[in-house]
Symmetry: C2
């Protein structure tokens, strides 16, 4: 873990910067081991193998139009007035190649995607013919089920065709042996399309991490239940479960746990089995009932005789909100755990800064953090900010104007303001006052 420079400078209790804390987290959280997933289950995941094309695409020369497969010499010079008249020897439908061979003076009726039959050199679209009806140009074929006679008789062709016209050549999309997708590719719909097209039913990717979210606090009541004196509703476990899903995780919300160290340890031990990452809120500060700190400070030593996590370290960060933070790993599999502060805004901001990157690092993604832009402060009054701390204020970003306006105050309990914000305004550590119009970093939340 990085040493706290601030601590060395001041000789006081060590204080870590936001960047140092994030660095330590990303140095500890490694991408999950890859697994083979069904194609649609791999959506949004990172490919861990170079995928090679096993068979060229298209696998055979085929028609790009509904029309007639012909020999070019037979239609040379054809016009509507002096059409080439060809014998229709049958249908070539997609998926039913048959065994037709097109000889001189012959044509096979052919459908889009059907293999070009031997002997044929080009396809003339049905719109360049009389469709076998002998009554001038047509725009369409009659369905075979209604008029099977369309697969025989004669067709009049009104225009010549060059060799290979309306023929998609074997391998013109990708060739056997080429690399279809490189390791590291994130699988969206077009990449899934290509993998299916080359016949891949499963694919090797890093799975979505399973994230268990626990809130702590004896004051927490489940939404929908009655609120008794001195209690508040649990919002953190809902907010962070939703945020974890938004970041790409499979998230499990565990109800609020009361402020009792034994209960919390037992709950966390129970949850380890389904967790790639644990996130707690609350109980990390300097109070006498800060149960997360109490329960987890020795967590590395839980299981005697078995390999265990390295334990959780609790720190003060030079940030507002979100000063108290815990991080480390626990249990036999060294499962990473982030212990966030309990104030709703603090926990949400901490999630964006530390948990979201951890989730995306577990997925093997390169861009682990939200995009940041520069924007000018749109405010009547200057902003004040505690010096020595990086402050994250809620704001609304106006892309058109390139400005950001603060929403609500800096209080870490102001959930309503957060719900009306779409950005976090970053006020650097060395800045105590920000004049209106000043350019600042802005983290975009959507």
């Amino acid at each position: 873990m990085s040493s706290s420079t601030t601590a060395e400078d001041t000789g006081r209790a060590p204080i870590w910067s936001v960047s140092e804390h994030l660095e330590d987290i990303l140095a500890t959280v490694h991408p999950l081991d890859p697994i083979e997933l069904q194609l649609l289950d791999a959506q949004g995941c990172v490919l861990v193998e170079d995928v090679t094309v096993p068979v060229s695409l298209p696998p055979f020369d085929n028609s790009s139009m509904d029309g007639y497969a012909v020999r070019t010499a037979d239609v040379a010079g054809a016009t509507e007035e002096f059409p080439a008249v060809l014998e229709v020897i049958g249908d070539v439908a997609a998926g039913a190649p048959g065994n037709l061979t097109v000889g001189p003076g012959q044509a096979a009726r052919i459908m889009t995607g059907a293999p070009l039959p031997p002997g044929a050199e080009a396809v003339v679209p049905v719109e360049w013919t009389d469709g076998g009806l002998g009554e001038g140009p047509v725009g369409t074929m009659t369905p075979h089920s209604l008029a099977p006679e369309g697969a025989s008789g004669e067709v009049r062709v009104h225009r010549p065709a060059k060799a290979r016209a309306h023929v998609r050549a074997r391998g013109s999309d990708v060739r056997s042996g080429e690399r279809a997708l490189a390791a590291g590719t994130v699988l969206g719909p077009p990449q899934i399309s290509l993998l299916a097209a080359i016949g891949r039913g499963t694919v090797r990717v890093r799975p979505r991490p399973r994230v268990v979210v626990l809130s702590t606090g004896s004051e927490l009541t489940q939404p929908g239940e009655e609120l008794t004196e001195g209690r508040i509703y649990d919002s953190n476990s809902f907010a962070l479960t939703a945020a974890a899903r938004d970041a790409g995780a499979i998230a499990y919300r565990v109800g609020a746990v009361a402020d009792d160290a034994e209960t919390l340890r037992a709950t966390i031990e129970d949850q380890l089995i389904r967790a790639d990452l644990l996130v707690t809120t609350g109980g990390v500060s300097v109070g006498a009932y800060d149960v997360v700190k109490e329960a987890l400070q020795g967590a590395g030593d839980w299981e005697e005789g078995s390999e265990s996590g390295s334990g959780i370290e609790f720190r003060k960060l030079a940030m507002q909100p979100g000063k108290p933070q815990g991080f480390g790993s626990i249990g036999p599999d060294h499962t990473p755990l982030l212990a966030l502060p309990g104030n709703p805004v603090s926990s949400y901001v901490s999630f964006e800064l530390f948990v979201r990157p951890a989730i995306r690092a577990l997925m093997g993604l390169k861009d682990v953090s939200r995009p940041t832009v520069r924007a000018a402060l749109d405010s009547r009054e200057p902003l004040t900010s505690p010096s020595g701390k990086r402050q994250f204020l809620r704001g609304r970003y106006d892309e058109e104007k390139g400005t950001v306006a603060p929403v609500g105050g800096s209080g870490s309990h102001l959930i309503a303001a957060l719900a009306h914000a779409d950005a976090l305004i970053v006020v650097p550590e060395d800045t105590a006052e920000v004049a209106p119009g000043t350019e600042l970093d802005v983290i975009l939340l959507r």
Copy 2:
């Protein structure tokens, strides 16, 4: 449905523009009826009610710090050298308010979030005290479980506090009766946080639409199986299922259906029960085996004696790729159905232009289409484009440079190029050639 202006101009078979077709779809697809969902199940959905705050947040005056609740007169003038010495009368923990009253010369040890006890006017943080240890300033409290005596004895306070210092006032976040969120709000993590905080366990939203994706074609083989002569792998049903999920839908992939009208009708009738929207690929052009067209052209009349859909209309659109398109509604519930062409690139582009907006309209979202930006063509050669058609080419967008470079050719079978693109380049109907450097509309796919 809008009339085709092109048809009137030319006197030929009617041709619709991309915009006309989208307009017709959006005029037919209405937002789904709202339902009451559990909070976390409503993530990403649109709220249909104004949500009013039932109880102020915070619900009571409470401490923003771990410290001591005091009367301000008792700590006036306190310094480290001449501390105020107060009798500790007990603990006020969050969720365990107790019934302490702070009298003159007294202090209650109080935790973050705990209600301010009667008699107290302010909170002094533990860092401003000796923590009851009599040995100078401390940075933290000892856990109550280890040192229960911390809740009694004496505390030395080293600094004065103003009235209401470190007290979060009842209602300072939101007040009872205020509007928390307006109808139309999309529920992300911060909005879910607020709803939980005001006690809402469920919320009334438009649900995610259930989208059934079917591909058609006797040539289609399931990825992972062996490819026999004249056959290709089904990629469309995978690509569009993934794309539907990406757009916000709950998507069901139905395996490829062979080119047989009766089988297709039976499959679609079976699927109607779980579909808010049906999407098919293939079989919509002018061929003799275009089974979707054959099966669905009379679909409005399927069920005698029962109310049924308005039927599916098949059109030619002035676009490339994606000329043949079907759209309408079927079955007793008038379930909307979009019949897309079968070439992989055509079906994907059609999805982006028509199905994604339909899904998002069903959700009640306002922004139904992908964002479009202007970008300069980054290409050595001019692009050629069929005049009279709006062309959508695959491209890579460079945000920094504001340019877009074509990827692969215009062939509608080029899946590999699509998998390496992140944008669609839009060449307008009246443009036959685009010089390098020309600014064009670009649809961003990510």
